[in-house]
């Protein structure tokens, strides 16, 4: 079985935000919720690099470890999903997540949090695949249709890769050897206890 992962090639990412709007478009994510975003370091200086970030679907996901209602589960493809029926919006997972992935809609006038929302790897949730109920809570389920996440598929420079971890690691390693440089598969050690050598 494939182990789905994300890999962002920081030497290719140009912070065009296609991944961000592709995600919004695919799932009709409302204003204020960002399942994916692009972070730039050394902005405006030599060494500036950008990285597209979302839930990395970690091995032994730390969010799942802290969830008081145990709403997280990992699919056979290695995708970390959660149930909004179980989620109580406590926010623990936000503090546990090394990537800042969990998002919470604001509810009511007192800033109380709604149910957590995050990247689903375009794989929906616990409801039956590609049903209106699933779409309403989690957005579309591309994986069930045999497609990869929209963000990676639409990445302008093919910096963001999604797919089986071994395959995307190989693509990245080949790139690094062709061009002679690479800053490493960012976040992989944290998320997958793994590195890609170039």
């Amino acid at each position: 079985m494939a182990r789905m992962k994300f890999l962002c090639d920081a030497d290719r990412c140009i912070e065009c935000n296609a991944c961000v709007t592709a995600c919004k478009n695919e799932h009709e994510v409302p204003w204020g919720i960002n399942r994916r975003r692009v972070v730039t370091i050394n902005d405006g200086k030599p060494g500036e690099r950008s990285i597209s970030m979302a839930c990395m679907h970690c091995t032994d996901a730390p969010c799942a470890a802290v969830c008081p209602v145990d709403c997280f589960y990992t699919t056979a493809d290695g995708v970390v999903l959660h149930s909004k029926d179980l989620c109580i919006g406590c926010g623990y997972c936000f503090y546990a997540c090394p990537f800042g992935a969990p998002q919470y809609p604001r509810l009511g006038n007192f800033g109380s949090r709604g149910k957590m929302d995050k990247c689903t790897y375009c794989a929906g949730g616990p409801e039956a695949d590609n049903t209106p109920a699933e779409y309403a809570k989690y957005g579309s389920n591309r994986l069930a249709e045999g497609k990869l996440p929209a963000c990676a598929e639409m990445c302008s420079t093919k910096a963001l890769l999604a797919g089986d971890g071994d395959i995307i690691a190989q693509i990245y390693a080949e790139r690094v050897s062709t061009r002679g440089y690479g800053s490493g598969a960012w976040g992989w050690r944290t998320a997958y206890k793994d590195m890609v050598s170039g």
Binding site: T21, N25, D85, Y135
Partner: protein, 984 residues
């Protein structure tokens, strides 16, 4: 801060919190995260609309079990031409899929392309025609709108003549729309017709066309994959053309190529460069001459290429000799050693390509900048082959096509110009009488000579509509407007933002003075709110290109056919239909649409393209039939990523073609020319897309031949230079006997008693082109490229300081040109420059202001700032300021600042956020130009018709920008002016 330009976490709240209170109501329309299970019907929020107005329900998720249709169109933002693959269910656009088959974008998009679906969901689109009545927006019907507009136009025409109206068209038109709009202006009787190319790459078109023949990118985005050295000068494609970076970066990786970025700003593109050169804004010519200085000094030029294919390089050499490394550093700030490195790579690590965008073009010396860039390419032999060339990245999705079809003050479609021969050619194509056409021009009661003069006089550009409206035609004995040109009284704006032209405070005054203002656009645009008009102002809802079909030309000259994805939403109509209805009301629809199929007042784009095919010989748009284009879209997957050519495995309909038949695609569609991927490429046969430099400027000058020497395209029967093909040339070669009887009959009919003068460009039979191709020759001849362009104001580019120079000490040595009349309006540039020096403006306004693009927005930004997925990413207008300048002024990152320029009314300031960053050098500030809706600190949101205000508003950069126009094209100066900034 809300400017998403830092590594801090995106801030929620702020605008998001107030978002629900904005006039269109809460857009969180499906609210699926809060209320699980129910997909709320959000358009109910538009409660003010009657039920009949809203044509479609909501755009929702894919409905399981409902048939999905896939439709292909192209992204309507930049010029890369990314294919958009739309999923449609029951007439509703429900999803976007990656268009893997397109060789241009291979499934990918940038933020804008990945969000285009929202454009046709259009919560904030203009929903029905409206007009201002006593200062209030009022809904009216289409019939009433066309009727009232037509009556007013006809009255103005009767009183002041056709030149009192300005037809401002759009690079957002399809080719067919652009062509019809140019035709509309011609049949109305004016050359006052323009579009965004004026303020984007008009100087490129003028500069490169005057050098080697055509005003277009010589190669393609894909071809950059072949380059060993890539120089990007005055361009930031990482934000302006993100998908092009796919080709640039992959080429760079594969070839381990040099990627050199030359820009005043350390752009997101520069972040990926192997070398970054920071120059002072407005010193491109000294920098280019500084590079050439090292090339000539070290003998790195391509001597054989220059001998065979370049005219006048010796004159360039003389000018370059003045630019020693010391003088270059004094003027540009760039050290000689760095330029030596750049020069050596560009000359030796070939193929090398030079890419430029608006940093090069939007200057008072724009055309000269472009010419200097061409000289660098020619000196190093970097034109006309794979991996080299002038890769000019154009701006809008169809700015190339709209230019090609003559949305231009100085030309009819396909760059025929405006002389009598050009008019007679197009009158033949349109099957209207030349004398009738001439009668449409000139002031009321004018004689034929005056009408002919106005018909052939280039019109007023979009950069000068302000002056055309406000300046007295004659003042103190000085002509300020050309003889016969009245002040503007009416302006028809199609698909164009009101914040795109410099000097907006004056624009507001000009707009108020007009007797009629018509804005035809999916959005109200800044033209609807900038002024305080009370009446005689109309808004017409036009649909996007996703709601109609037609062809568009990408920057690389590839033409792509877009399918209609959904029906026009709300009451919006296509450009085609509105142009037809106007022509009908104005009384010339029968003549104008004589050979065009019109159904229910909607002209059919295929039929328009066929008329273009019949007439546009000069650019080789003749082989690009709708059938061929549709086949290309259907069989996209067969085209090669690098060569763009369809291989032997492709279906017969497209086999051997280059993708999108990049023009020139010679001859009739039947002869199946494959298009021209790389211009002027002598390594290929003309029938395979090869070519030579165009013989456009005669055969000799002062005893020196202008024709190529010993250079010719592969398989050419003439193994030397030759002039453009006319009947006389064919006869001299004895090739006229190859013409068929039918071809000869057409040529004789066109030529009348001077058959010899019928040329490849005016021969409607295509016989001359066909015979030239048969003999392996370029129909337009085989000449040298001109390093020396004697017909331009500066035949060899010379440095001229910007109008508002931060270095007044250099103005005496490098002054701008003297005042002159161009495009019917006087240009007071020299006077303004001298006043700026005399008044010591550089002391009071010590910061150089330059402008540019953001990836999330495009153009005037009205459309993209109304797109919630994009608006969320850039919520505030900002100015980038260097930390040192900020520290001197006590400005912190993210705080409000006040910015003002030397031409703004006294006491007025613009209010925006500060982004303190080393991206700009000390003494330089940068502003994105997409914002509008705040005007000199005033929030104009209330002035938009209810529910049509863009989500994000902000100050326009062009409120601060100043006077200054290129002598050749009247391009405006937006990249180099002065301003002052202080903390708010």
């Amino acid at each position: 801060m809300l400017i998403k330009r830092s590594d801090a976490e995106a801030v929620r709240g702020g605008l998001a919190a107030s978002f629900a209170a904005l006039s269109s109501g809460a857009l969180d329309r499906r609210a699926f995260l809060r209320r699980s299970g129910v997909a709320a019907g959000g358009l109910a929020a538009l409660g003010t609309l009657s039920a009949g107005t809203v044509k479609k329900a909501e755009a929702g998720p894919m409905q399981p079990g409902v048939r999905v249709e896939l439709r292909k169109n192209m992204c309507t933002h930049c010029s890369v031409g990314c294919t958009v693959l739309a999923e449609v269910q029951n007439g509703v656009w429900v999803g976007q899929e990656p268009a893997w088959e397109s060789p241009i974008n291979r499934g990918t998009h940038c933020a804008k392309g990945a969000a285009v679906r929202e454009l046709v969901h259009g919560d904030r689109r203009l929903k029905y025609p409206m007009k201002l009545e006593g200062g209030q927006w009022k809904r009216i019907s289409w019939a009433q709108a066309i009727d009232e507009i037509g009556d007013k136009m006809l009255r103005i025409r009767n009183e002041s003549g056709p030149d009192a109206a300005f037809f401002l068209g759009s690079a957002k038109f399809s080719n067919e729309g652009a062509y019809l709009f140019r035709k509309l202006a011609a049949f109305w009787g004016t050359n006052n017709v323009d579009h965004q190319a004026r303020i984007c790459h008009s100087t490129t078109v003028a500069g490169v066309a005057n050098t080697w023949g055509y005003g277009a990118q010589t190669n393609s985005y894909n071809d950059i994959r072949n380059s060993k050295t890539i120089v990007i000068m005055g361009g930031n494609p990482a934000e302006a053309h993100p998908v092009s970076l796919q080709h640039v970066l992959q080429g760079k990786e594969k070839n381990r190529a040099n990627l050199i970025v030359i820009d005043p700003r350390f752009t997101r593109t520069a972040a990926h460069a192997t070398e970054y050169v920071r120059l002072r804004p407005g010193t491109d010519i000294p920098l280019l001459w500084g590079i050439l200085w090292h090339i000539f000094e070290n003998g790195w030029e391509d001597k054989e290429f220059i001998r065979q294919r370049v005219y006048g390089m010796e004159e360039v050499r003389k000018e370059v000799a003045k630019w020693s490394p010391e003088e270059v550093e004094r003027v540009t700030g760039v050290p000689g050693a760095q330029l030596r490195r750049v020069a050596e790579k560009f000359a030796k690590e070939k193929p090398a390509t030079l890419i430029w965008c608006m940093g090069m073009t939007q200057h008072t010396v724009g055309t000269a900048n472009v010419r200097a860039a061409c000289a660098l390419l020619l000196a190093t032999g970097n034109v006309g082959g794979a991996g080299n060339g002038a890769n000019i990245f154009r701006g809008h999705c169809n700015v190339q096509g709209a230019s090609d079809f003559g949305l231009d003050t100085a030309s009819l479609p396909a760059y025929y110009g405006l002389d009598e021969g050009a008019w007679r050619h197009w009158c033949r194509v349109w099957e209207v009488d030349y004398e009738w056409m001439r009668g449409r021009f000139g002031p009321p009661g004018a004689d034929d000579a005056t009408r002919k003069r106005m018909m052939e006089l280039p019109g007023i550009t979009t950069t000068r509509y302000i002056d055309a409206t406000l300046l007295e035609p004659v003042k103190d004995g000085t002509r300020q407007l050309a003889e016969g040109q009245p002040n503007y009284r009416a302006m028809l704006v199609f698909g164009h933002g009101g914040n795109t032209v410099v000097r907006m405070p004056e624009a507001a005054a000009a707009l108020e003075k007009l007797d009629l203002l018509v804005v035809a656009d999916p959005h109200p645009t800044t033209f609807a709110v900038l002024h305080n008009r009370k009446d005689n102002t109309y808004l017409l809802p036009i649909c996007t290109q996703f709601e109609c079909s037609g062809s568009r030309t990408a920057s690389n000259r590839s033409v792509q056919w877009g399918e209609q994805i959904v029906e026009p939403i709300f009451e919006s109509k296509t450009d085609y239909e509105v142009i037809y209805r106007l022509a009908e009301k104005l009384g010339f629809a029968n003549e104008m649409f004589k050979n065009i199929t019109v159904r229910n007042k909607v002209p059919e784009p295929e039929s328009v393209l066929r008329e273009i095919n019949r007439g546009a010989w000069a650019t080789g748009y003749t082989g690009i039939s709708p059938e061929r284009l549709k086949a290309h879209m259907k069989y996209q997957r067969y085209f090669d990523l690098v060569t763009l050519r369809a291989g032997a495995d492709a279906p017969a309909e497209v086999r051997g073609d280059y993708y999108g038949l990049p023009w020139p695609c010679w001859g009739t569609p039947e002869i199946r020319h494959p298009g021209t991927h790389i211009l002027y490429n002598t390594h290929l046969h003309v029938k395979d897309g090869g070519g030579t430099f165009r013989a456009r400027f005669g055969v000799e000058r002062n005893g020196v031949s202008l024709l190529a020497e010993g250079s010719y395209s592969k398989g050419s029967e003439i193994q030397d230079g030759y002039p453009e093909f006319t009947m006389a040339v064919l006869k001299r070669l004895g090739w006229d006997k190859d013409l068929t009887a039918e071809e000869r009959a057409v040529i004789e009919r066109i030529g009348g008693n001077n058959v010899d003068r019928v040329s490849w460009a005016t021969d409607l039979s295509g016989g001359i082109v066909r015979v030239a191709l048969e003999h392996g020759c370029s129909p337009f001849g085989n000449a040298k490229a001109r390093a020396l362009a004697w017909n331009l104001p500066d035949p060899i580019p010379v440095h001229r300081e910007p109008i508002y120079s931060p270095r007044p000490d250099l103005v005496a040595k490098y002054p701008t040109r003297d005042n002159f009349m161009a495009h019917r309006v006087i240009n007071y540039g020299r006077t303004v420059q001298q006043l700026a020096v005399d008044r010591n403006i550089a002391r009071d306004f010590p910061i150089v202001l330059t402008t540019g693009r953001l990836v999330e927005y495009e153009g005037g930004g009205e459309e993209t700032r109304s797109n919630k997925w994009l608006a969320e990413l850039q919520q505030d207008m900002f100015v980038e300021i260097n930390p040192q300048d900020a520290a001197e002024r006590g400005i912190r990152d993210g705080q409000w600042v006040l910015v003002w320029g030397p031409e703004m009314p006294k006491g007025k300031v613009c209010r925006m956020k500060a982004l303190v960053t080393e991206r700009v050098g000390k003494g330089v500030a940068f502003m994105p130009f997409h914002f509008a809706g705040w005007f000199m600190s005033e929030d104009q949101r209330r002035k938009y018709p209810a529910g049509t205000d863009p989500i994000v508003l902000g100050e326009s950069a062009n409120t601060v920008t100043t006077y200054g126009f290129d002598p050749v094209t009247s391009m405006q100066e937006t990249k180099c002016t002065l301003c002052q900034i202080r903390a708010a």
